[in-house]
């Protein structure tokens, strides 16, 4: 299958295209939630609505990104194994998981209290800022894989 994806003229770009579309769906919702919690916009929407309503879509998008990403990585395992940027990207992914668990109780399952609070609680701002940084880091390290080889 690795050779099929790597050498098929259309397979790689098609999987890459699906990967990107899922990133747009997933990334757009992450951005919207982060922007809201940083107080930069979307003030007419409640944090609860954004977090709760996007949850299913984020899972769907994230799942598609992960599956297509795995397929793409499958094409060039040796190159990626030797690429520092690839490992940075994987570590950042692991940190996204840590982030989700860490802020689960205080932010992502606590949105109604956040909406009732007079101002945006610092912990929500922190969660949003870290989320933005992690995702920017993931995009950057992903693109820098090409720079490694």
């Amino acid at each position: 299958m690795s050779t099929a994806i790597r050498e098929g003229a259309l397979l790689y770009p098609i999987i890459g295209g699906i990967h990107l579309l899922a990133i747009a769906l997933f990334g757009g919702m992450v951005l919207a939630s982060d922007v809201r919690m940083l107080g930069w916009g979307l003030r007419n929407e409640s944090v609860t609505d954004l977090i709760e309503q996007f949850r299913g879509w984020k899972w769907l998008g994230g799942l598609v990104v992960a599956i297509t990403g795995l397929l793409l990585a499958w094409c060039e395992p040796i190159k990626l194994y030797h690429s520092p940027s690839f490992w940075v990207k994987m570590i950042l992914f692991a940190l996204v998981g840590v982030h989700a668990v860490f802020f689960r109780r205080s932010v992502y399952r606590n949105t109604e209290a956040i909406d009732r609070a007079p101002g945006m609680p610092p912990v929500a701002k922190l969660a949003a800022a870290l989320s933005l940084l992690l995702w920017v880091g993931i995009v950057l390290s992903g693109r820098l894989i090409a720079f490694d080889s």
Binding site: G28, V30, R43, N44, W57
Partner: protein, 147 residues
């Protein structure tokens, strides 16, 4: 100025030189392009999902669109800056690439559609299809910095 001369001028411009200079330049600009992409397509996708009744049904779609509009525009600005920068890195090769041309036509259609029809009507379902078309061709052009 003919297209050929314009492409040659672009390929010799300071931006093109910078893009082809340090090896990290292209990936960094490409990353910005991706982030702009998430802003632009992501916020449009949210509005379209809303119009389809698939998310945020408590918000009026018009208001959601208005609230997301600055971020959509930021995405457009980032993409229309970083895109031509990447184009300049290898202008002639992009220009003759059929997938690139299809991508540009789809992009123009999608932008015009999004900022005209989709802004006035309550049903933007078709927009999704068009943006998707545009994107699949984008990836089909499968371009990387020549090494």
């Amino acid at each position: 100025m003919t297209i050929q001369r314009f492409l040659e001028w672009l390929a010799a411009s300071p931006v093109a030189n910078a893009m082809n200079g340090p090896e990290w330049a292209f990936p960094v600009v490409e990353s910005l392009h991706f982030i702009g992409f998430a802003f632009l397509i992501g916020t449009i996708a949210i509005v379209d999902l809303r119009l389809l009744g698939l998310t945020l049904r408590r918000q009026p779609s018009r208001q959601l669109q208005a609230d997301l509009a600055p971020w959509t525009l930021a995405g457009v600005a980032i993409m229309l800056t970083t895109g031509p920068m990447m184009f300049s890195a290898d202008a002639v090769r992009y220009y003759v690439n059929p997938s690139f041309r299809i991508k540009m036509m789809c992009l123009a259609t999608a932008l015009v559609y999004n900022f005209t029809v989709d802004q006035c009507v309550g049903s933007g379902a078709h927009d999704r299809v068009r943006v998707k078309l545009c994107l699949s061709f984008r990836s089909a052009s499968g371009f990387r910095k020549p090494t």
